[in-house]
Amino acid sequence: MFPEFGQFSLILAWVFAFLLAVIPLTGVGMNKEALQRTAPALAWAMFFFTAVAFAILVRAFLNDDFSVVIVSQNSNSALPWYYKFSATWGNHEGSMLLWILMLTGWTVAVTVFARSLTVELKSAVLGVLGIVSFGFTMFVLFTSNPFARLLPIPPTDGSDLNPLLQDIGLILHPPTLYMGYVGFSVAFAFAIAALITGRFDASWVRWSRPWTNVAWAFLTVGIALGSWWAYYELGWGGWWFWDPVENASFMPWLIGTALIHSQAVTEKRNLFKSWSVLLAIFAFSFSLLGTFLVRSGVLTSVHAFASDPKRGLFILVILAITILGSLILYALNAGKIKTAGKFEFVSRESFMLMNNILLVVIAFAVLFGTLLPLIADAFGMRKLSVGAPFFNLVFNMLMVVLISLLGLGQLLRWKKQQLKSWTGFFIVAIAGAIVIALLLPWALSGQLHWQVWLGMSLVFWTAASLIRLLAEKTKNADSFVTGLKKAGVGFWGMWIAHLGLVVATTGVVLVSNFDLERDFRMAAGESVEMSNYRFELTSVDQVSGPNYSSDKGTINVFRNGKPIAELHPEKRFYQVQRNVMTEAGIDGNLARDLYASLAEPLDDSRQVWSVRLQVKPFVRWMWFGALLMALGGVLSITDKRYRRTARTGASL
């Protein structure tokens, strides 16, 4: 009976979403505060019933209830409990339910953390979130019911979770990513609420900024987790493929990054208001677009869910209503936004705008590259592919410009900056960065790559600028330390996030140019030398796991005759799905990863293997950089200002 309760509970959630979408917004329209005040209660009810539905689905997975279709298709009694748990969202229906759970979760978070908002704004925000919840809950109920049953005779066992997904990465990656996607719905709702109520004073940006930052931080971590997961789980050591699904997560991130900067200008200088509203709409729209691309089957991807054109059309209609509706609202009302204030070309505003232009252009280039194959195909021109070579080129070119500007832009004052007093610093820092970036990698590796030279020049230049930034902040303080303490969390958030970008760029530049990859034919007992490491394949053993059997290699790595690491690459065979998986053996530290994977056996006794060995310098810096960026995003919202303005907002 439980699955039916789950479905019933979801229907109730849908009803409450409907009420939330209608009543408070009617209240705003008719200026009736009593109607507006229903919003928080309705939001809580909607969240509660969604949570119950989700809990029941989790229960079905944990209890091996194979009468539920998606349990029987995506789980198995031999699966460890934590994979049964994560299998809940390892499929289209369950992941959609998780998506909605998070959306309703963010909705109640607004009621909790934004108690001091004006009743009108709050109910408008919640109402907009209600509309979105209503649409997506309807989508789940009508096209992707997670509680559909296989009755009267349920199968005795399930057909197992895709082995790719049996991994800690899958337990963490989708929920984090969805938190980011869905989190942008709050900034979106604030923007729409501002358009509806016509109140564009500085307070609405101040209120929505922390939400944008948190969502962006989640998205950053989610993308980094996905990249890390692909790196060690797909078995080939790649960390970014420009796959349509990756692009779908990257585009909202780019727009979200632009939004964070634009909102900063809007809050501090009361400029770019209409632009911030538009970016908030776009950030969430790109999140929704990702959902559509992954689930409609219009694009091929290694990550895509089993697709169904009917679902695609349904999502498309929801998207069209949400996105086009908000853009119509924007076209009608954004003209009323008044902007005052001026700035010169050399000013922080102007550089923030350049940052926005570049990020938005990158996002649209990625979007167009992702969609062009679809467009060419739909209009019968031809089948073509747009992949890594195109994206790398465009992305790298624009990022070079963006990071060069960052070094200058973060030092600038608002309104207007005289550069004269900086000339000395610029000459020293830029020349120094260029020279060090040429000499240091060359001296250490003996190799010259112009890409490394360029990339590391940018890294050193931005690092120098970050240090200079500290000096500027502490210039007028009694001592360096008190200056640092006084700088404020907003400053530190920015500083750490930019440092994260520097760290991540270092990782990308170095691993892309200095990585080594070779395929060897190795029998047990043989060893090869590569990059001063000696890899010795000690043995290949047959072992068995809970739901798979495996050839497990043991590779001892020596350096200068001393053992430094032991790698255990595996070739796993999952019995239920009859799937072969390559599990890499990795030993990593900050300087390098040693990466081994078994490609295929070359003899019948499975003792001689083709082994792929890789040395990946500085690869972890990318993910650490991403974590720093996320940390910066979260740190900056602890600023007292957000709490204080909330209080003054209430007293207005």
């Binding site: 290694v302 890594a388 200095f514 034919r521 300087a591 295929e600």
Partner: protein
């Protein structure tokens, strides 16, 4: 001093990066030169497995990817240029087989659109900052004061 040790290890590692592979006797594929190896890596990264979901032939285990890799390897050693190899694959597997879009009336938009957006964006930026500079001048021209008046009326 942990971070310091890490740093030293980073540097020491980087120092040894250069000394590439020494024992190549066991390698699955041997190349006449490092240049050929780099081109092989590049090409197999650029060619798409025609049968897989979305993978390049370097990372794919499909038999067809193996064939394409082998053919690439052979053609490289026969002295074909990269573009000739790509064209050879396109003749057999259509443009779908290359992740690097070949220039045509359809794919040119991949470059034209972003550049157009960038140019428009920069124009807007220049206009904004120029307008602001003018505004800084407190003395308004006649036309401007008329416009200001009109705007104020419109507002009220």
């Amino acid at each position: 001093m942990k971070w310091y040790n890490q740093l030293v290890r980073c540097l020491m590692f980087a120092a040894t990066c250069a000394l590439a592979v020494q024992a190549t006797a066991n390698e699955v594929l041997t190349f006449d030169s490092d240049e050929l190896r780099d081109r092989y890596t590049e090409l197999t990264f650029q060619l798409r497995c025609p049968k897989c979901q979305n993978q390049n032939v370097a990372d794919s285990n499909a038999p067809i990817s193996e064939d394409i890799r082998l053919k690439t390897y052979e053609m490289l050693h026969q002295g074909y240029t990269d573009q000739e190899i790509i064209d050879f694959m396109i003749d057999r597997y259509t443009e779908f087989v290359t992740y690097k879009p070949q220039m045509s009336l359809v794919t040119i938009w991949l470059w034209v659109l972003p550049i157009t957006c960038l140019v428009i964006g920069m124009l807007i930026l220049f206009r904004l900052t120029k307008r602001n500079k003018q505004n800084e001048n407190p003395a308004l021209t006649e036309e401007e004061s008329a416009r200001l008046k009109a705007l104020l009326e419109e507002k009220s």
